[in-house]
Every structure is written in structure tokens, then in C-alpha cells.
């Protein structure tokens, strides 16, 4: 059993999305991008729904975003949508696997990008069309070799058509050509014959020039509209600036294939390279009908929503409670804030996959800090909390950070930690025994090895203006001691010869609290001793 009562790990384990993974789409920006693409398809479909299309009925879409931000996921998700499937026929091509790249291999890849399901559907539609013709046309009947024996044995044309579809008989291709050429162009006839033959993708071998390829693509789009009432979408992923691909794409754009949409997916870097390599193609890309924007795809809100979407999708019983969602969001926030390396969808999903696996193995009801800690240690062994002197484990870091969201708790924790740190420094002989600081306005007082009387004051507030005032007041009381150290969360450089104002970041405060917890529980080991003294030095108390 996985956490949150899930029956399976909802997160994908592959580094790039598969069609199955892409069924789930989360994130406001990704959903907005999806809506923009769907609107484009819907608009184009409405224009050609009458069955006729002109060169005005061509659309160019670009999706430009950084690697790992969900472009491919979006493309595959759209391709797999039922509502899209009703209106479109989509061919998804990952250009990174097309090598060598030339017009034939690119065309072959585009034909390969259509699903087997589509090929079966169009085959059935074409056979049904010929079958219908055969009811009235004797030449068409020859396609199915329908004769007297068939009629007296009670076998209908539909039965024969089914036989063709199930490869139970070979149709008469010569008759098929005769029937089709009355209504279709030679290129369309060639494609239709290949469709009936069940060898649709072999058309890549029939073309020899770029002109042939463009004509074939146009014929294909036209046939899809005619037989399926759908527009044709070509999705070219990992579009790059190499000469063959850009020239091919330029030709496709220039052809204005009726009832078709070309969706180009690439990175800002590729876009820039195309600008430098081929101004003509760049100009066409600049004039794209839809520039799908995934801006902010790596923001916390976006990534969090995507993470939650996977759980929601797999939460059949709708048992994922708002409290659990809030708890998980807080943990994700820590990971997002502390590890800039994970600030993208792909990396975060990878973390979540391993975390869920870990929690599942330990039979945890929720994703806990330990699971995150183990995951980061195992999957990214080199990662550490930035700037942590005490080398705080990620699990403790998350716990402490969450506990310290309240500023009062944080202040109390840090005050307690500094007292403990001075006590520890005394125990190891770094400073003299701390004195009672009751009523002096300071939090800790002690003498350093040279007899200098040192006082430490902690000033932590949500409102930094309040901290500045407090620091200013504390600085006026330096007469009691030789040296005053003010530890604050406010960013200030105040201080004089006899005093020092040390600004502590969140990491430093967590370091202190972590040390304090270990000190109180007598869990300090040899390594911690050096670290603790370094921590004390970093806040100028020894």
C-alpha cells in the first residue's frame, strides 16, 4: 500500500513522459496552454467542418520552453485527449530519434507518428466507403471480388468488406484504383491503396522529392477530413536548427496544408539558434498563429499543482484530505526552496516517485520527512543543505523549518539554542561559565578566555522595523559589558567597536536549533563538536 491510501505509485518513473504518464496534466499554466491549443484545433475544425478546406485553413503553433518544463508532456497529453481525438488526427514525432535527418526520414517519422488505432479507423472508413460504392457500382464490387456465388450463398458486401479488414481476403487493387481515381487525385489514390493494404507507412518509400512529400501530406490531411471529418495535426518535438529540419519545416509551412496544424515544440535556445541559422524560418515562426506560453512552468505553485494532480487522479476513493494536501505542500515547499536543482517539473516528479516508493516500503500513511531525506540521499547523494554548518539532515531541516514557521516559536528556539551553545562552549573550555543575565536585557552573558565580558542579545521579529528599534535600544546598554553581540534576522550592518550585530539567515537559525536539540538529548558526537564550535564562531560568541 502506498501513502495516502493509493494503490499504486502515481508518479512516472521515466525521465521523459510516456503516453500513459501524459494522461495526467496538472498546473494552472499547463492547463491554460492546453486550453489555448484546444481552442486552436477547435477553431480550425469549425472552419473545415463543412468538408472543404482551403490553404487558409492551416495553423502553425509553437511551444517554446526550457527542458524539463513539460512541453512534451503537454503535447502527448493533448494527443491522447478523447475530445481532441474526436476532431483531430495527430502524429507526434520526436525529432531527436530521427537520424540521419533528411526529407525522407522526416516524412517517414511523420507517418510513423500516427497511431495504429488511427490507421485501423481510416482503413475501416475507406473500406466502408468502397463498400458503399459497391452497392451501386459494379466496378466497386470487383474490389471485393463479389460475384454470383457470394450472392447465392447469402454473403453480403459488408461481409466481404469485413473479410478484407480482417485480412481474410486480398481485395482487387486494380479495381480499387479504377474506383478511386474517379474521385481522388493520383497521390490520394496511392495513399488510399496503402491504407486498404494496411501498409500505410510504406508511402515514405514512394516519395522522392520534397514536392512529393508536401503533396502526400496535403493528400493525407485531405483524406482525413474527407473520411474522418477530422483535421490533421503534426507535432514535431525537439525541433532544432539543423538545415534539413528547418528547410523541411519551412516547406510544410509554405505549403499551407489545408485542414492541418503544425505544432513545433522546442527550447528558447533552439529558437535562438534558428534565428541565427535560418532567418526565413525564424520569420515564419515569429508569425505563428499560436505561441503557446508555458511561462512560469517551474514556479512553486505550478509544480505543486502538478504533484497534487497525480495524487488526485489516482485517488479513486477521493480520500486525499485537505490536511494531507497541506502537509505535503509544506514539505514540497521546503524541497523547492532549499534545492534550486529541483525547481523544475521533471526533477520534482522524480523526487516524488522515489519518495512515494520509500514511504510505501515503510508502510507510511503519508509522505514523511524521512522518505524525502532518504530519497535525496540516495538519488542525489551529493546534495546538501546550502550553508548548513551543522550538516543538518534534510528530514530534520524540514521538521525544524515547519515548526519554526511561527516567529515566536522561532525566537524562543533560537534563544534557547544560543544559551545551549554557550554552555557547550564552556564545557569544551572555549569560554568561561555563563553568568545569569536576569534583568540585564541580554539573553546570555559570559567571559571569553581573555576575560572580556560578552553579552548576547537575540532580536527576531517578523517586522524588521521593530527589530531595528530593538537593536538600537540594546546598543545603548553596552556599558555593562566589554562586548555585545546582537543576533538578529533583520538585515542590518549596525554595530560599533564594542558591539557586533550578526544577521542570521534561516539556515543559521535552523543550524542552531538542530544543535540545541542534539545537545539537549545528549546526541552530540565527535564530528558535531567541531561543527558546534564553528557555529559559535560564525555568530561571534567565541
Amino acid at each position: 500500500m502506498y501513502p495516502y491510501r493509493l494503490e499504486k505509485n502515481p508518479y512516472p518513473s521515466s525521465p521523459t513522459p510516456t503516453l500513459m504518464d501524459a494522461q495526467i496534466l496538472g498546473g494552472r499554466r499547463h492547463k491554460e496552454a492546453k486550453a489555448a491549443v484546444l481552442s486552436c484545433f477547435s477553431d480550425l475544425h469549425s472552419k473545415v467542418s463543412g468538408g472543404t478546406a482551403t490553404d487558409k485553413d492551416f495553423r502553425l503553433l509553437t511551444v517554446i520552453q526550457d527542458v524539463g518544463s513539460g512541453k512534451t508532456h503537454l503535447a502527448l497529453h493533448i494527443k491522447g485527449l478523447k475530445e481532441v481525438a474526436n476532431n483531430t488526427v495527430a502524429s507526434y514525432v520526436d525529432l531527436s530519434v530521427v537520424s540521419p535527418r533528411n526529407m525522407n526520414s522526416l516524412y517517414g517519422a511523420m507517418l510513423g507518428g500516427f497511431t495504429d488505432e488511427y490507421i485501423a479507423i481510416i482503413r475501416r472508413a475507406v473500406v466502408a466507403y468502397v463498400c458503399e460504392k459497391a452497392e451501386r457500382d459494379s466496378t466497386a464490387r470487383k474490389v471485393f471480388n463479389y460475384g454470383f456465388m457470394d450472392s447465392i450463398s447469402g454473403r453480403s458486401l459488408k461481409d466481404k468488406a469485413e473479410l478484407v479488414l480482417h485480412n481474410g481476403m486480398v481485395p482487387n487493387y486494380s479495381a480499387l484504383t479504377q474506383v478511386l481515381k474517379k474521385e481522388f487525385s493520383p497521390i490520394e489514390v496511392t495513399i488510399l491503396k496503402l491504407v486498404v493494404e494496411g501498409n500505410f507507412r510504406a508511402d515514405a518509400q514512394n516519395v522522392s522529392t520534397l514536392e512529393d512529400i508536401i503533396a502526400s501530406l496535403a493528400a493525407l490531411a485531405s483524406l482525413n477530413l474527407r473520411f474522418l471529418k477530422r483535421i490533421t495535426v503534426f507535432q514535431l518535438d525537439e525541433f532544432e536548427s539543423d538545415r534539413e529540419t528547418t528547410e523541411f519545416v519551412k516547406a510544410v509551412i509554405n505549403a499551407h496544408i489545408p485542414a492541418a496544424a503544425l505544432m513545433l515544440i522546442f527550447t528558447p535556445s533552439s529558437y535562438n539558434e534558428i534565428r541565427q541559422a535560418n532567418a526565413s524560418v525564424f520569420d515564419r515562426l515569429e508569425k505563428a498563429n499560436y505561441k503557446v506560453d508555458l511561462a512560469g512552468s517551474n514556479t512553486y505553485e505550478e509544480i505543486l499543482d502538478i504533484i497534487m494532480e497525480y495524487i488526485r487522479h489516482h485517488d479513486a476513493g477521493k480520500c486525499f484530505t485537505p490536511e494531507e494536501e497541506k502537509d505535503l505542500a509544506a514539505k514540497v515547499k521546503v524541497i523547492y526552496d532549499e534545492f534550486s536543482d529541483f525547481r523544475n517539473v521533471r526533477s520534482m516528479l522524480n523526487i516524488m516517485y522515489h519518495t512515494v516508493e520509500n514511504s510505501g516500503k515503510r508502510e507510511c500513511a503519508t509522505i514523511d520527512e524521512q522518505a524525502l531525506d532518504d530519497t535525496i540521499k540516495n538519488v542525489y547523494p551529493g546534495l546538501r543543505i546550502r550553508g548548513s554548518v551543522m550538516d543538518v539532515p534534510i528530514s530534520d531541516f524540514i521538521k525544524i523549518r515547519r515548526n519554526c514557521n511561527d516567529i515566536t516559536t522561532l525566537e524562543a528556539g533560537v534563544r534557547d539554542a544560543v544559551r545551549n551553545l554557550v554552555n557547550y562552549a564552556h564545557e569544551v573550555g572555549a569560554v568561561a561559565k555563563p553568568q545569569k543575565a536576569n534583568g540585564s536585557g541580554f539573553d546570555v552573558m559570559f567571559s571569553d578566555p581573555y576575560g572580556t565580558k560578552v553579552a548576547v542579545a537575540i532580536v527576531i521579529n517578523q517586522d524588521h522595523a521593530k527589530s531595528f528599534e530593538q537593536i538600537s535600544n540594546t546598543l545603548k546598554t553596552t556599558g555593562f559589558v566589554d562586548k555585545l553581540v546582537i543576533l538578529t534576522n533583520a538585515n542590518t550592518s549596525a554595530g560599533t567597536n564594542g558591539s557586533a550585530v550578526v544577521t542570521m539567515d534561516r539556515c543559521k537559525m535552523i543550524d542552531l536549533i538542530y544543535f540545541s536539540n542534539k545537545y539537549k538529548n545528549s546526541e552530540l558526537v565527535e564530528d558535531d563538536s567541531q561543527r558546534a564550535l564553528m557555529l559559535a564562531k560564525s555568530i561571534r560568541i567565541c
Binding site: Q65, T267, P268, S269, E286, N298, S340, R343
Partner: protein, 211 residues
């Protein structure tokens, strides 16, 4: 020609073998006063060889001693070798001094050039006095000016503008970009690629856009 000159020529013509005083007297007659004068001037040396006195011109006397006195020859050789050592050492010292002088001159030139550059920088924009908020202002302005239709801009382009305005080095610029994009995660977005940029996840991120 005076008697002294005649005597001098006679002694000189004898070479390093020297002219026997008795032979000179036999040939020239009374020579004592002239010889004394030449000895007092240091032009002639008189040396006793066996039972006879020989006169040597100053230019031949050392050679005569070298030929006849082994101790003198040894001493002379030693002095010569010391002289040789001194001469070569002097040459090396002279060369070293020359190199040093060249280096000092180059160093002085370099220091003075740096001083001029530093002064120029200081007068254009004080180095590393750009706060993150000031940098943000300049960065945003440059980003807005160079923005493309898709929003993404090469960081190198922005660097040119911002560094020229603020007098920042490339390293300092990218350090500030890293700080800025980290601080305002919801405002800026980085993308991989480009010839230069900010390093994230081991990848150069050379493109930026405002969200």
C-alpha cells in the same frame, strides 16, 4: 736623442731577456745617472740574475719574471684567475641588474596602467557598490529593451547593457543574476543554452524571461 732615450731604446730592444748593465756601460759609457732617472720614473727595472745586473723595460719585466720565477708565475696565474672570475661575475651581475631594471620598469608601467583603469572604473561606477535592488532596476530595463516576441532574451545581451551601465565584471553580473533570480523566483525564469549564463543543475542557463 738624449742619453736617456738612447738607453731606453737599448733596454727596450733587449726584450724580456733584459739588457746586461755591464754591456750597456761598455757600449754607452757612463749610464748610471740616466739609468737612475729611468728607474725612478718606473720605466726601467733592474734585477740581479746570478752575479750580473740586468735592466728591463717596464713592458717586458713581468714577462721576464714569469719566465724566470715560478713563484711569481703561480701568484700571477692565481691573480689572473681571480680577475677572470671577477670579470664573469661582474658580467652576470650586470645582466641580472639589467633584467631586474626591465622588470621593475614593466611593473611600474603595469601598476600605473592599473591605477589608471581603477581610477577610470571608480569614476564611471564604483565597483561592487550595486545593490540587488539597483541591479534589478537595470536588469529589468535591459530585459524590457531586448525582449523578443516569445519573451526569452539571451543573458549575454543583457550583460552587455548592464555591465556597460554599472561597470560590472562578467562574473559579478552573473553572480547578481543568480542572486536576483533566486530571490525573485516567481518573477524570472531561466532557460538552458547559450554561450554564457548562470549555472543551474550543472547546465548553463543563458536565457531569461519575466514571468
Amino acid at each position: 736623442m738624449t742619453a736617456e732615450e738612447i738607453l731606453m731604446n737599448k733596454i727596450l730592444s733587449a726584450g724580456s731577456a733584459g739588457a746586461k748593465k755591464a754591456d750597456l756601460r761598455k757600449e754607452l759609457g757612463e749610464i748610471d745617472s740616466a739609468l737612475e732617472a729611468l728607474v725612478s720614473k718606473g720605466e726601467v727595472f733592474i734585477d740581479k740574475r746570478g752575479s750580473a745586473y740586468y735592466c728591463f723595460h717596464q713592458s717586458h719585466y713581468v714577462q721576464s719574471l714569469l719566465n724566470t720565477d715560478p713563484r711569481f708565475r703561480l701568484t700571477y696565474d692565481m691573480i689572473k684567475s681571480v680577475e677572470e672570475t671577477l670579470r664573469s661575475s661582474s658580467k652576470e651581475v650586470a645582466r641580472a641588474i639589467e633584467t631586474l631594471a626591465g622588470n621593475v620598469s614593466n611593473l611600474a608601467k603595469l601598476v600605473s596602467e592599473r591605477g589608471v583603469t581603477a581610477t577610470a572604473h571608480a569614476s564611471a561606477a564604483p565597483s561592487r557598490t550595486v545593490s540587488i535592488s539597483d541591479f534589478k532596476g537595470e536588469f529589468d530595463a535591459a530585459l524590457a529593451n531586448s525582449s523578443s516576441s516569445i519573451g526569452w532574451v539571451e543573458l549575454a545581451k543583457i550583460r552587455n547593457d548592464v555591465c556597460a551601465k554599472c561597470g560590472l565584471s562578467n562574473d559579478e553580473f552573473y553572480r547578481l543574476v543568480g542572486e536576483l533570480t533566486g530571490q525573485y523566483q516567481d518573477k524570472y525564469e531561466l532557460s538552458t543554452g547559450g554561450g554564457e549564463g548562470v549555472m543551474v543543475r550543472g547546465l548553463v542557463h543563458g536565457f531569461v524571461r519575466c514571468i
